[in-house]
Amino acid sequence: MNIIVILFPLALGLGLMGLGAFFWCMRSGQFADLEGAAWRVLQDDDKRD
């Protein structure tokens, strides 16, 4: 049963990391344009010459 004492802080820590990542995304403006982002993935941004 002692394994729980390690596993739960670990799970919480991972969750907190996710939350931190979400806040970081918000701050860096990733939710400002939800439509454009979907298309940007498909853009061909090879080097132009």
Partner: protein
């Protein structure tokens, strides 16, 4: 031509970097996005361009030393996009900050509910097997550790709103939410303390999570509306010619004009400010302001209003207000009178809340008293009563309406219709009579050629070049209608007569009937188009007469038919003379017509319709329509409308076609249907869940399943507001 000056829109940053936000007309797809970004990126001096596809905006950064802001607009024009700069709202501003804080709370609540659920699932499966009570207590305490700070942080919007309501002695939806959350948390802590089997930490946090989603969607909708309103203002791209301190005239965006400036208004231009005439005499066409089409003489010391058209002479105007606009005293008085009637409308969600709160609290109290009387100890009775509060907590109710509004608003946006008020959808769906203004609403705002058959295609360019050489409003309108050909330079203008170019047999003339000797042709055209202004053209022996007048907006007939088919009565209320209104009404087959109305008359007629129980949809664009737009049950304006009319309208549509009016009605009706369905679903859900809770059978597991299940159903149902038909048409 005076120089353009856009410097007011530029923001300066360290290191000589300038940036500007532009609203761009015609960004439709990812291709446009890439064309703009890579096109601007290739330019030397431009450091970066970023398109926001959702808002149809682009923000550009460049080295200040290398480029003027005007050059950025020119470069976008060269790429094929018309761009209009504007001053973006600052991030710290109210609505934006509110939205971000809600999103943060939503994130925290989501994180907490996932982690508590992790613990709760273990407890639930353990409860049905043989969980060690010490382990269960440990899990419950861990849950409390996560839930209590989360509730304090994520629940604040609800607690604050409930307190505000209670302070003024009112009850809103947040009061039962707050009571439920606080009681459930207190009970769960007490239960954990006493080594109990059930704790509701997961239910409380999940409830907050779902409610925050609804709250966030509501805020998103409002914010989007404000952003689009910003785009609309920019798309109008109004400018004025300002006299600078150094004596030069500069074309300046209206946003940069301040009271006290002096601006020049040339003949043929629309006045873009309110002010007092300093020098010059002229005649004004005030049809957009008063609805009356006959010109009015104006001179020194008299007042001009934005939206009027300067006809004959140049005016210098001392600016009193720009952008927002001072009002005609009469309109001002009517506006304050009109706004009251709309505020009487009670939103669907508020009506639901008024019914909901007393019922739920009575039920919970009755449950407690009932079980207590039955002989249960008071802590157990209280616990059952609290489960009733938790299970009835309006998470489906909180999502039911915002989710539909957001989905419907984006469906409208795809069809170039912008919703300015969230509850406009509900009101629009209720409309049973559509009242149209004529000038600029049923008809296009700019005059058009009414008899294109009199204009041979091979002569279009010649006539256009001649017309473009004149300042006369009629000639200007003709030049615009012919596609804005460059003006001929060798043109003589004879005041009050017309224009001529060339000599002998090759002489071309454009102007009055007499000037061109076209009386014979004019007679038949006049008979066909009685309300129109006639302009004649002669080239050697060839003569033709063009009728210029207000032509119907594209798809006006189909729209009127569609509104009729939807069960709406159609009426036209116009400020114009009845001779001008009658042909339009006859063409559309509308019989309920009133002409020659003052702004106050329109409002009175609308009020009397409302008094007869009619729900009026007002469609108008003029300053004279503004009180009627504000006073109607719901109102729609075209984007060409005056500032005040647009501010008063609930819905604004882009483009020339009138079809968005019918489309908006269709989507609004569908959305209202879905809102009602969602509310009925919430009632049905409670009808099943409440008896279970009253019987004392609702475990935390039951509460979790009921809550998430009902929220999911309501959200999925809301997605149907997109409308399969509307969607495919918009994409076509």
């Amino acid at each position: 031509m005076a120089a353009q000056d856009l410097s007011v829109f530029v923001r300066h940053r360290d290191g000589g970097v300038a940036s500007m936000e532009l609203a761009v007309d015609g960004i439709r797809c990812a291709g446009c996005m890439q064309a703009i970004e890579s096109g601007l990126g290739r330019e030397p001096g431009i450091l970066g361009a970023r398109v926001n596809l959702a808002l149809k905006r682009v923000s550009v950064e460049w080295r200040e030393a290398l480029l003027r802001p005007e050059a950025v607009v020119d470069k976008l024009a060269a790429l094929g996009f018309k761009a209009y700069p504007f001053v973006p709202e600052r991030q710290e501003d109210g609505a934006a900050a509110e939205e971000r804080s809600l999103l943060r709370r939503l994130g925290v609540a989501g994180f907490a509910s996932m982690n508590i659920m992790l613990l709760s699932v273990a407890v639930w499966s353990g409860n049905s097997a043989d969980i060690d009570p010490t382990t269960r207590d440990f899990f419950h305490w861990l849950s409390a550790l996560i839930a209590l700070p989360t509730a304090a942080y994520a629940g604040r919007p609800f607690f604050e709103s409930a307190l505000r309501a209670l302070k003024v002695g009112a009850v809103n939806m947040d009061v039962p939410i707050t009571i439920g959350v606080v009681l459930a948390l207190a009970m769960s802590v007490a239960e954990t303390w006493n080594h109990g089997r059930h704790a509701y930490f997961d239910g409380v946090v999940m409830l907050l999570f779902f409610l925050l989603i609804g709250r966030y969607l509501d805020q998103l909708m409002r914010r989007r509306t404000r952003d689009l309103a910003g785009n609309l203002a920019a798309l109008k791209a109004e400018t004025a010619t300002r006299l600078d301190a150094d004596g030069n005239w500069t074309v300046t965006p209206i946003a940069a004009i301040a009271p006290g400036d002096r601006v020049l208004v040339r003949p043929g231009e629309r006045v873009s400010v309110d002010g007092i005439v300093e020098t010059g005499r002229s005649e004004l066409d005030q049809s957009l302001v008063t609805g009356e089409t006959a010109p009015v003489a104006i001179g020194h010391g008299e007042r001009v209003h934005a939206g009027t058209l300067n006809l004959t002479g140049a005016l210098t105007v001392h600016v009193e207000a720009a952008g927002q606009g001072t009002l005609l005293d009469e309109i001002d008085r009517l506006m304050s009178q009109a706004v009251g009637s709309r505020s009487r409308y009670v939103r669907l969600s508020d009506r639901a809340a008024r019914l909901y709160a007393p019922v739920v609290h009575t039920l919970a109290a009755a449950t407690f008293l009932g079980w207590f009387a039955w002989g249960l100890a008071w802590p157990e009775a209280l616990m059952i009563a609290v489960t009733v509060l938790i299970i009835t907590c309006p998470c489906a109710l909180g999502l039911a309406i915002p989710a539909v509004q957001v989905v419907a608003a984006s469906a409208l946006f795809k069809r170039k219709i912008m919703l300015k008020e969230g509850d406009a959808l509900e009101r629009l769906a209720e409309a049973d009579i559509a009242v149209f203004d004529k000038t600029g609403t049923l008809t296009l705002p700019e005059p058009d050629i009414l008899n294109p058959e009199a204009l041979p295609p091979e002569r279009r360019a010649a006539i256009g070049a001649l017309a473009a050489a004149s300042n006369h409003p009629l000639a200007q309108a003709l030049a615009r209608a012919l596609g804005g050909a460059p003006a001929r330079t060798d043109v003589q203008e004879e005041r009050g007569q017309g224009l001529s170019a060339g000599a002998g047999d090759d002489e071309q003339r454009l102007g009055s009937i007499v000037f061109c000797g076209a009386e014979a042709e004019a007679a038949s055209v006049k008979a066909l188009h009685p309300g129109a202004s006639l302009i004649a053209y002669r080239h050697g022996g060839y003569r033709t007469v063009l009728a210029l007048g207000q032509s119907l907006r594209p798809e006006a007939r189909e729209t009127i038919a569609a509104l009729r088919a939807a069960g709406l009565e159609i009426a036209i209320l116009s400020g114009d003379r009845s001779e001008a209104v009658a042909p339009i009404a006859a063409e559309l087959g509308v019989t309920h017509v009133r002409a020659g109305l003052l702004p106050g008359d329109k409002l009175n007629l609308l009020d009397s319709m409302a008094a007869n129980g009619r729900k009026v949809l007002m469609v108008g664009d003029g300053l004279n329509d503004a009180p009627a737009l504000a006073g109607a049950h719901v109102s729609i304006s075209p984007v060409s409308a005056t500032h005040l009319a647009q501010a008063a309208a609930d819905v604004v549509f882009l483009g020339d076609s009138l079809a968005p009016v019918a489309a908006a009605l269709e989507i609004a009706r569908k959305a209202r249907g879905l809102m009602l369905q969602n509310l009925w679903f919430a009632v049905l859900y409670n009808a099943v869940a409440v008896p279970i809770a009253i019987a004392g059978l609702a475990t935390p597991l039951v509460a979790a399943i009921a809550m998430s299940g009902s929220s999911l159903v309501v959200t999925l149902n809301a997605l149907r507001a997109r409308g399969r038909r509307a969607q495919s048409e918009a994409e076509a």
